[in-house]
Amino acid sequence: MSGFPVLTTILLAPVAAALLMVFIPRDEGKLIKCVAAVGTFVSLALSLYVYFAYDQALGGLQFVEKIPWIEDLGVSYFMAVDGISLPMLLLTNLIGFAAIFASWNVNNRPREFFILFCVLVTGVMGTFIAHDLFIFLLFYEVVVIPIYIMVIIWGSTKRVTKEYAAMKLTIYLLIGSAFLLVGVIALFMKSVGILGAPDMSFTALAEAGRQLGRFDQIWLFGLMLFGFGSLISMWPFHSWSPDGYAGAPTAVSMIHAGVLKKIGGYGLIKIALVTLPIGAQFWAPYMAVLGVAGVAYAAFGALAVKDLKYVVGYSSVSHMGYVMLAIACLNVIGINGAVANMFGHGVMAALFFSTIGFIYEKTHTRWIPDLGGLARQTPRLAVAFMLAGMASLGLPGLVTFMPEFTIFIGSFQVYGGLAVAGIAGIILTALYVLRAGANTLFGPPRPEYDHLVDIRGPELVPLVVLGTVLLAGGLLPSLLFDMINSGAVPLMAQIQDVLQIGGKF
């Protein structure tokens, strides 16, 4: 842990790129894209460095940067990573980098697009490396604005107008954050009484929160559950997700489905669960029920829709149901599974959305009955689609399988029959993924798509980057799990004595 502020550098690289882009003439589209790519690449490279330089044996917070900011509120610029935030940070940068290339063909106001995108990436990263609740919320709000603008300007109108989609996304995020804010403020006020001095850092709040009474913990956790839950598209607060993704431009869908909604799960684990374990225990069964309901419900939804983006939108709701189920397990396996599944799903969803983005760009349709036989005309695109699809249905050997397996183990142990209902989701998942894939890629090639050019050059980057991660994480799960485990074990150890149900077999 050298004195060099690595995390801040990671955080600011896209911002620097955005600032630089301000000074580039608006018609230099290629240069703008290159600058954006370099900015995100710096972040990606550094976060890879951090990922592998992190001492897993030591665990805990590393690469700490702490500068007091607002002393009266105990706010400090507190950046640090642990085993849970690191995969999320890495994921953000992977997707951020890939998304630049997935939007390589954006030619309508490219400068504004990439500036906003870089700000968006920074905001998301910030939430994952901040260890101060105030900073966390600050970055969270930073995220909302670019998304709104990007959907409005570069979005597409299908079942719903893009304005509606943008509004829905934004309002949902804001409503969630409003409830969250109430909970956070209440928690903070109470923590001041317990700690004697204001302190907004996660650590201090967690310490104070665990001393709260049962009633306080329950209603505070409830607020946070609602806040974070609507962010992670927990059923029934999910309906922004399909509409929003369908309306958003590719890069936003990638970031949003890939990492942004994971802030919800991340927050539930790293803030709500650690701070309010008794509240978590109270709410866990409800979370599990909602999770399973989301899995099944959204899987059926995905089966019924005909728009590719809707399919993936519903599918991501379905997958997030597993995350909820996993968190509700309240044991080490569950937490591991939840974080790993967020990672895996992020990579998968990003690849999926980038592929669909390309398909839409080339064929000008996402309506499944209008597509078909693309495997002949655009084989690489088909490979990307199949890869993402197989990851979506949890094929072993890809990064999404082991997380699901661990979630199944964790939840089966705790919830039995309910978990079985959740596991049954894998059948439906296979059904809708294959149906969408088969009807898009296979079957007789359509003459109207004969002129299509397969993805090439920069367009291949998302496939290569994300595909590599999909495979590497699947073949060597310990790459991912060792890291998460080093964060999950101490985390659960903190609350283990408070909880009655443990994580042991």
Partner: protein, 647 residues
């Protein structure tokens, strides 16, 4: 050499995987080179597998105690006391050694065959990459030391099967068949997954060696009822993968893939994975008799059921497919009656003669430009002697005519069923044997003998295709000799592959004679109906006489239609219902409803927004007034504050 092969058995699945990567990333544009890479890797893998198998078979201690190399794959929880550990590794014992040998051998032969069969296909290289990936996954499956690892490979072979069935992507039927295969297997895998999860949770491990020890005294962990449930759940997986009733529907449709695929995946190797899994987990099944009965009954019923369908089918590959289902039923039956030996033996012989027959069928299709209806063939043996005669050997083997391979293994299964007292199941097996002989020879007489059809212009296939046929025909002839009751004990199948304890099967002449008679009767009946009677009037008359039965059989007992109905009405209906619920109730009423109410308030509030400055000023002063009044009358000192800070 042998030592090296045994220690590095992990190379066996790795080499084909390597060739998959090489082809996909590098050599795809060069078809011949791709094929070369693929075959080279496969053959090397086969050589290593052969050496390793040789080492295992010659050293008897591995029969009792498998050779295991394992490494941590990942673990969760505290490093000292983890909550979940998953290892990957290689487990070599005679069963897996036999399998890697058989799989790599058949795969090598089929890859060679494919060079001829797939020639000129635009997806040539891709096809070889898929074959390599499949071989790799299958080999990984059979040498897995851990059930989770096995499950991974299990799913991967499913994927390869999906890709290969749907290889002709432009054909809608291929696409649908591939999807059907994957989803059907997925349903089954759901059960298997639940079983594995339960095993992990109850016993805390999925390592096969460890698990077998723990299950041996399972009472310390759980009750017999739970264990039975687990065994049944685990068995659901094989039902799907090995095409047992009622999840057999995907297997005949899987014939949409190129014929080498049908031979490799849907006859010789992948479909027996289910049987292999049950064989591998005999330590589990043997503890719960109820599950064993289930396995046996499922197997016997499937054997009979599939054979009855095969009787009336017309497409050559479909007949073979149902015959595969039927034979897999035999293997399950053997497992169910407790004989790992017989099951694995039949698996072994079946791989050869079924691969042979599929490749032969492929050769025929190749010659006839994919005309598949056996009624439109005839007299092919004159134009295609190698294909024809090797097919006849296959027919003899599957019908159970001594000394061909099929006889010995089928006979062993029947006698095991008989000896263990399952007389009903034995009877079902025996009837199936008769039917098998009949429908297979019906196929042979229709396709290869009789009058030549003038519209066909068959020709013998290239040597790439006939050479594997000859090799397989040889194996189908002598492959069974390792397991006859008269084989010397040292090299006897039963001495290598067994469960609990090896026992030498005494020849049961009654059963043996019976099965030969049944097989002979089947062939004779087919001969009468389809060879002697050139016009096949009797056959048609018979079909007319039992019209209902014939229709049922010809339409596969309408199982597909039932599933189709279920899928389209129930699943899709539910999906539509949920979707509409989402759009109109959750979204329409709740979400947009809240939004509409908000908007209503906004519209209301808009009225106050007149845009006239003086209105605003008035309201402003009202507000000032209100604040002032409140301050003045609630807090007297603030009045002073407002008026100049006095007092």
């Amino acid at each position: 050499m042998v030592e090296f092969a045994m220690q590095h058995a992990w190379l066996v699945p790795l080499l084909p995987a390597l060739s998959f990567v090489i082809i996909v990333l590098l050599t795809r544009p060069w078809q011949k080179l791709s094929a070369l890479v693929s075959i080279a890797c496969m053959v090397s893998s086969c050589v290593i597998a052969t050496l390793a198998a040789y080492g295992i078979f010659t050293n008897h201690e591995f029969t009792e105690k498998p050779l295991v190399y394992a490494a941590r794959w990942f673990s969760l929880g505290l490093p000292g006391a983890p909550d979940l550990v998953v290892n990957v590794g290689v487990q070599l014992d005679p069963t897996s050694a036999m399998m890697i040998f058989m799989v790599s051998l058949v795969a090598s032969l089929i890859q060679i065959y494919s060079v001829g069969y797939m020639e000129g296909d635009p997806g040539f290289s891709v096809f070889f990459s898929y074959l390599s990936l499949f071989a790799s996954s299958m080999l990984l499956l059979v040498i897995s030391s851990n059930l989770l690892q096995m499950f991974v490979a299990w799913e991967l072979v499913g994927l390869c099967s999906y890709l290969l069935i749907g290889f002709y992507t432009h054909k809608i039927s291929a696409r649908e068949a591939a999807k059907k295969a994957f989803v059907t297997c997925r349903v089954a895998d759901f059960g298997l997954l639940l079983g594995l999860l339960s095993l992990q949770i109850v016993f805390g491990t999925l390592d096969m060696v460890e698990l077998s020890e723990k299950i041996h005294h399972f009472q310390e962990y759980t009750t017999a009822g739970v264990l039975t449930l687990i065994a049944v759940l685990v068995f659901i997986g094989p039902i799907g993968k090995s095409g047992q009733f009622p999840l057999h529907v995907w297997l005949p449709d899987a014939m949409e893939g190129p014929t080498p695929v049908s031979a490799l995946i849907h006859a010789a190797t992948m479909v027996v994975a289910g049987v292999y899994l049950v064989g591998r987990t005999m330590f589990l099944f043997s503890q719960v008799p109820a599950a064993m009965e289930l396995v046996a009954v499922t197997g016997a019923f499937t054997a009979l059921f599939a054979a009855s369908i095969a009787l009336t089918q017309r497409e050559i590959k479909r007949i073979l497919a149902y015959s595969t289902v039927s034979q897999l039923g035999y293997m399950m039956l053997a497992l169910g009656v407790g004989s790992l030996t017989a099951s694995m033996f039949h698996l072994w012989t079946h791989a050869f003669f079924k691969a042979l027959m599929f490749l032969g069928a492929g050769s025929v299709l190749h010659a006839l430009h994919h005309k598949a209806d056996v009624w439109e063939m005839g007299g092919l043996i004159k134009k295609m002697p190698v294909t024809g005669w090797t097919f006849v050997i296959g027919g003899l083997a599957i019908a159970g005519i001594p000394p061909f391979a099929g006889f010995w293994s089928k006979d062993e299964i029947l006698s095991m069923a008989f000896n263990s007292g399952h007389y009903v199941l034995f009877a079902m097996g025996a009837i199936t044997a008769f039917m098998t002989a009949f429908y297979m020879w019906r196929l042979i007489f229709l396709a290869f003998f009789g009058d030549e059809k003038p519209e066909n212009h068959p020709h013998e296939s290239p040597v790439f295709m006939t050479a594997p046929l000859v090799v397989l025909a040889f194996l189908a002839t002598v492959g069974g000799l390792v397991g006859t009751p008269w084989t010397p004990w040292d090299i006897n199948w039963a001495n290598w592959i067994w469960f609990h304890e090896a026992h030498h099967a005494e020849p049961n002449y009654m059963v043996m004679l019976g099965s030969v008679i049944l097989a002979g009767a089947g062939i004779f009946l087919a001969y009468q109906l389809y060879y002697v009677d050139k016009a096949r009037a009797k056959a048609h008359a018979l079909a007319d006489k039992y019209r209902a039965l014939h229709t049922l059989s010809y339409n596969k007992f309408y199982i597909d239609e039932i599933y189709l109905w279920f899928n389209h009405s129930i699943v899709d209906g539910a999906a539509k219902l949920f979707f509409l619920f989402d759009i109109y109730i959750v979204d329409g009423i709740i979400i947009n409803g809240i939004a509409a109410v908000t908007r209503l308030f906004g519209e209301g509030a808009r009225i106050s927004q007149t845009g006239r400055l003086q209105n605003y000023a008035l309201v402003f002063f009202l507000g000032v007034l209100a604040v002032a009044v409140i301050l003045a009358f609630t807090n007297p000192s603030s009045a002073g504050l407002m008026l100049g800070g006095v007092k």
